[in-house]
């Protein structure tokens, strides 16, 4: 069983996050880069399966600037067997479509039984990559899983929906995405960190994958405007003069918060 886990370097979720107002990209210098937590959880799903099934091969894959190699290596320290890093300056401003095309090409090239991704990155929050990948790879897609079971020929799991839980399953090969409901990822230990140095780490360019970043034949998303998030406005203060409860309820209803 070969599982590819997509991971992403993002600005520290708990640190200050900034947009570069010239390019519209995340300002990577503004905060510490970290491995996206949702990607770590996806990796944990794969590693937990590998712990119980010795014949499992786990590959971490990321499309990210050259500088992200250290962060991707953390996936190896946690226990993945090898890494594929798609690094190409031409992909710096890639939109969701180009990202999906590039990742799909790399996934095909590496070969897979199962691709596991997070449902939503904490920086771009596009949330459509898993579906686009499944489409491009022509395999089934199970999104936003809150639990995952992997067997030889299929993957199944649950998805929370309004007022209930859905059970879904798909034959392999497939693409699944998971939510924060899945367990926290393990910490890498020192032995893992040292071993990561010796694990296969492949760096590939867009050209290696037959991707032409300048190819505009497919539709592109174009950023038309960008602005800093407006500063938070002062809230509404309700002073309790005996009718505080009622007024809070009115406020919530008025603002469609209930």
């Amino acid at each position: 069983m070969k599982i590819i886990v997509l991971v992403k370097e993002v600005p520290d979720t708990y640190g200050e996050r900034k947009l570069d107002l010239e390019t519209g990209l995340a300002d990577r210098a503004a905060s510490e880069p970290v491995l996206d937590e949702i990607g770590e959880r996806a990796l944990e799903v794969a590693l937990a399966h590998a712990d119980a099934h010795a014949d499992t091969e786990v590959v971490v894959m990321s499309m990210a600037p050259e500088s992200a190699a250290t962060t991707i290596r953390k996936g190896l320290a946690m226990g993945a067997g090898s890494a594929v890093h798609i690094a190409d300056p031409g992909l710096a401003a890639a939109d969701l479509g180009l990202t999906a095309r590039t990742l799909a090409a790399a996934i095909r090239r590496t070969g897979f039984d199962l691709v596991i991704t997070g449902n939503l990155s904490t920086d771009g929050s596009g949330g459509v990559i898993p579906a686009m990948l499944a489409e491009l790879l022509e395999v089934p897609n199970a999104t936003a899983l809150t639990s995952v079971e992997i067997t030889d020929g299929s993957v199944s799991g649950t998805r929370d929906v309004d007022g209930g839980t859905m059970r879904v399953s798909a034959p392999l090969p497939a693409v699944v995405s998971i939510t924060e409901a899945l367990p926290d990822a393990r910490f890498p230990n020192f032995k893992g960190i040292m071993a990561a140095k010796k694990k296969p780490f492949e760096t590939v360019s867009a050209a290696d994958l037959g991707i032409e970043p300048e190819d505009l034949s497919a539709a592109w998303s174009i950023m038309t405007a960008i602005a800093e998030k407006p500063p938070r406005t002062a809230g509404t203060k309700i002073t309790d003069e005996g009718d505080g409860g009622t007024r809070i309820a009115e406020f919530l209803i008025e603002n469609r918060l209930v």
């Binding site: 250290t70 910490f187 230990n189 020192f190 960190i193």
Partner: protein, 387 residues
Amino acid sequence: MHDLTDEEQQLYDMVCEFADTVVAPQAYEADRTHELSMDVVAQMGELGLFGLPFPEEVGGQGGDYMALCLAIEALARVDQSIAITLEAGVGLGAMPIYRHGTDEQKAEFLPDLVAGRALGGFGLTEPEAGSDAGATRTTAVLDGDEWVVNGSKQFITNSGTPITRFVTVTAVTGERTRPDGTVSKELSTIIVPNGTPGFTVGPGYDKSGWRASDTHPLTFDDVRVPAGNLLGERGRGFANFLRALDEGRIAIAALATGAAQGCLDEAMAYAKTRNVFGVPIASHQYIAFTIAGMQARVHTARLAWHDAARRADAGLPFKKEAAIAKLVSSDAAMLNARDATQIFGGMGFMNETTVARHYRDSKILEIGEGTNEVQLMVIARELGLAA
């Protein structure tokens, strides 16, 4: 810090993450109830922290002393009690067995010690023998194929946890006549398993700091252990624990640096968000300078322990450097704890804040593993001065 390899930096970052997410949330409650969290100890074991400086052949992580100290520093930022549990567990529990143990002793104790499934204590200090270890009164007499141990020890870390397997005690095993005719005590170290009849672990102390760390007085009343429990050569007790103490000073220096860093981080965050007279207090030059001074102390302390650890790992003499590192870093921790609590104002006096805990915890850093007066004594002697 630029002297760290990529792997060392990753280790430090990883332990910081573990400290922030697993250790920090339980620190206040553990301190309040004087209760070492065995769950956290178990998780540290799974993470391989107790095996850091040991080779993989004995179940370790294949790192060195530097790696261990990096982990201790990272933990101490948020919880000194947990950091000292690791420091003592490795430096005083496992390391003497690894270094001086026979094959049987290693086989019996090391696998569980390096995995964090068991802890060992090291009993040197006695009511009448602290800084002056030569004044040791505990005795061990060979009777047939057994040692009979009598005496008492005090302030012994990790000696009474649910997973404590043994305490290595220093004891007088005879007398030695020097070439010049003077007579001196022969000191040896003996492994006394917990639960041996006559070995009593007294109730934990009511400490002002490091309250979640496990510390007990011990008494030995005709305690019989096999002759094979002698650790290292007979009469080499002094030499053995002096090496352990020298190394321990580097680890305490790393711990103190972590404490000083923790105080700095807390003070920075608080000063930027606490508004008084309509402005964040960080905008006052006095506060900014205070924090700048804190940063300078952290940096110096870190340089000092890194250098001592690198020397130890390289097999170079490190006695003086270890003493200096312990001296400057414990000062840094005390001063930063004091500055950080001051910046927190009244809130800094509340035990629920990390800075209040650092304020109480840091004092022992100037006392344990050799008082700072003893460090000055060591440095002075290394300089060739009579001290």
